[in-house]
């Protein structure tokens, strides 16, 4: 982690702390933080050793004792490492900016000039909270993971001192609108989070591990665990879904508790977290697009979550991605007008109301964030047919294995119809809005000039029907893709973009 440069530096040594700049040290709580991270690094090899011996010849007392011994040694080593890192870490503030020195054997010096500081992110993890300290990450535009200077344990006074150096890097609550997630919204957000896509794979892995353990226990028991009827499988499936839902609800509670977003002069500040308080500062010029995500469990209630595409933040904590975890769909425009007018949708806020021509083919369907154009009617069957055909194939193939239960696959058939209902787009005044459905219904709102690239695509079948797709990429996680537009329209939009 602390690699010293192996080549001679142009300036022999980083400037020593000048007499005028008092050298600061971290709060001793940093020993705990550093030790914990060192222990984390040691834990994996230890787990491998344990796992090997268990797989090798079962777990006996000797192995257990030996592992325990390794654990104690590892812990002692971790604490020593933590102490050394704390005792050798210091930072100072001078005319040159913030300087940071760490390391005993391999030493590392970092200097960040004041005008390069993009943000001072303050976090409070479980350990920090225990000791009443805070973690400060000095962020520059370099875009590496974590801060360029990371100070894991500072007393509030020291944090205030750092913030005083660069007030513009810190959006104070006073300098802009702010909105906190209310208790009721938190409950609603947690119960409708439904991040099954994240939880289910984890459960699958756990299930597999459990299955292996059961096999070790004795194959007879394991056979009993495997359901012998399709009904049993469905029961297991439902149980898994319920478990996944409970986990996702808990996860959302922990992640979104205390969520607050503050709009400053030129940056957003987002704070969140129950166990791990995290705070992220996002410069506004790095916000490229807003996604309005209406999840399956939220849509019936007219609720959605807002997330932002932040360029250069791909590796940073997810704190930088959620703009607000729960908003009523009807209030999205007001929310954006208040916090991100740069991103608010087409023909809203910027222009007088009357200037937008009301065209009949424009549908503002119930719950739509913004008025949208539909793809032409002849595209409908292209949305609807593939899932219907897929479902029929599944039914026929599945009938041989599970009999009438295969009919469950028909539940999948209306998916294409839902996609057709959701598909919509609008491109006006340089603002782009694209709505698609992929389980969740997502609307991307962004100024078109923020795109990274744009594409039109047409396959052989679309060519005959004069249809084409349009894709506009705004970042690693945001690509607005609308399928089966009229070819001429798609290409005109492509040229105008």
């Amino acid at each position: 982690m602390t690699g010293s440069p192996s080549w001679p530096e142009p300036t022999p040594t980083p400037e020593p702390p000048p007499a005028t700049a008092p050298v600061r040290r971290l709060h001793p709580a940093a020993i705990a933080v550093y030790s914990a991270s060192a222990a984390g690094n040691l834990a994996l090899p230890l787990a491998v050793v344990l796992g090997m011996s268990v797989l090798g010849n079962g777990l006996d007392l000797m192995d257990l004792m030996r592992t325990l011994g390794y654990g104690v040694v590892g812990l002692v080593v971790a604490v020593i490492i933590g102490y050394v890192r704390w005792s050798t870490t210091r930072y100072w503030i001078s005319a040159a900016g913030i300087s940071h020195h760490t390391g005993l054997v391999s030493q590392k010096d970092t200097n960040v000039p004041f005008d390069r500081i993009q943000a001072l992110d303050v976090q409070q993890g479980v350990l920090q909270r225990w000791f009443g300290v805070q973690r400060v990450d000095v962020q520059t535009g370099a875009g590496g993971k974590g801060g360029e200077i990371s100070l894991p344990a500072l007393l509030p006074d020291a944090v205030a001192e750092l913030r005083g150096l660069k007030p513009s890097a810190v959006a104070e609550e006073a300098d802009g609108v702010s909105r906190a997630l209310t208790r009721r919204e938190l409950v609603e957000a947690a119960f409708t989070a439904g991040q099954l896509g994240i939880v289910l794979p984890v459960l699958a892995v756990i299930g597999q591990a459990a299955g292996q353990v059961a096999e070790e226990e004795g194959s007879r028991n394991a056979v009993q665990l495997i359901p012998d009827t399709a009904g049993g499988w469905v029961l297991i499936g439902v149980a898994l879904l319920v478990l996944a839902w409970v986990l996702s609800t808990l996860g959302a509670f922990i992640a979104f508790a205390g969520f607050t977003v503050t709009r400053g002069e030129d940056r957003l500040r987002i704070r969140r977290g129950l166990l791990q308080r995290s705070e992220a500062t996002v410069p506004l010029h790095r916000v490229r697009a807003v996604r309005v995500v209406e999840g399956v469990f939220r849509r019936p209630f007219g609720l959605c979550a807002l997330s932002i595409e932040v360029t250069g933040y791909a590796e940073e904590a997810s704190a930088a991605r959620t703009l607000f975890p729960l908003v009523r769909v009807g209030e999205v425009q007001e929310f954006l007008d208040e916090f991100l007018p740069e991103m608010a949708a087409v023909g809203h806020g910027e222009r007088p109301e009357g200037a937008v021509p009301a065209r009949d083919r424009r549908t503002r369907s119930a719950g739509a964030v913004v008025a949208l154009d539909r793809p032409p009617a002849r595209a409908a069957r292209r949305y609807i047919a593939p899932p219907v055909l897929g479902a029929l194939v599944l039914v026929v193939a599945g009938w041989f294995f599970v009999g009438p239960w295969a009919l469950l696959a028909l539940l999948f058939a209306p998916y294409g119809w839902a996609r057709w209902r959701a598909a919509g787009w609008r491109f006006e005044d340089g603002r782009l809005a694209v709505r698609t459905l992929r389980i969740a219904r997502t609307t991307v709102l962004a100024p078109a000039r923020y795109r990274e690239s744009h594409t039109w695509a047409q396959n052989v079948f679309q060519r005959r029907a004069h249809l084409a797709d349009l894709e506009v990429a705004f970042g690693k996680r945001t690509t607005a893709r609308i399928r089966h537009l009229d070819a001429a329209t798609a290409q005109a939009a492509w040229q105008a973009l």
């Binding site: 690239s453 695509a457 396959n459 052989v460 990429a473």
Partner: protein, 151 residues
């Protein structure tokens, strides 16, 4: 219909693609032949592989090369390609983060280079360019990166 960009890839690209197709279908044909030896399986996988060998090896490189078009223009890099599905992409200059040039063994032998243009959202590949085209592209991007404050 939008006009296609005008520049093509290097003519030798067809040879490189031909070699790749030959490798693919050749391996499939050998595999199919071995399968039919081992287990007296049907002979149709072998027939399919041989048909693929005869049809795809000469045809795919020619068609693909004809369809592949690119150009450097005022707004950015214009790329259009695809046989069954045509895709045309525009990458504005200001969004180019960096450019990468790759040269495999065959490409080195034929003085070709593959240029990969990276943006914050992903990368776009222009394969098998003549070396002078690849250099022009790289220089142009470097020059724009110097002048543009946003880059």
């Amino acid at each position: 219909m939008i006009a296609a960009p005008t520049r093509t890839l290097a003519p030798q690209a067809r040879l490189v693609w031909g070699a790749a197709q030959l490798g693919l279908w050749g391996a499939l044909a050998i595999g199919a032949a071995m399968l039919s030896q081992v287990d007296a399986l049907d002979w149709w996988p072998l027939v399919a592989a041989v048909v693929g060998l005869v049809v795809c090896v000469p045809l795919v490189p020619i068609l693909r090369w004809r369809r592949w078009r690119w150009d450097v223009q005022e707004p950015g890099i214009d790329i259009r390609h695809g046989l069954f599905s045509v895709r045309q992409t525009l990458v504005p200059w200001v969004r180019v983060q960096h450019v990468e040039t790759r040269r495999g063994v065959l490409e080195q032998a034929m003085n070709l280079a593959t240029v990969v243009v990276h943006t914050a959202a992903g990368s776009h590949t222009i394969p098998l360019l003549a070396e002078k085209d690849a250099e022009e592209l790289r220089d142009r991007i470097a020059e724009l990166a110097r002048t543009d404050p946003d880059a």
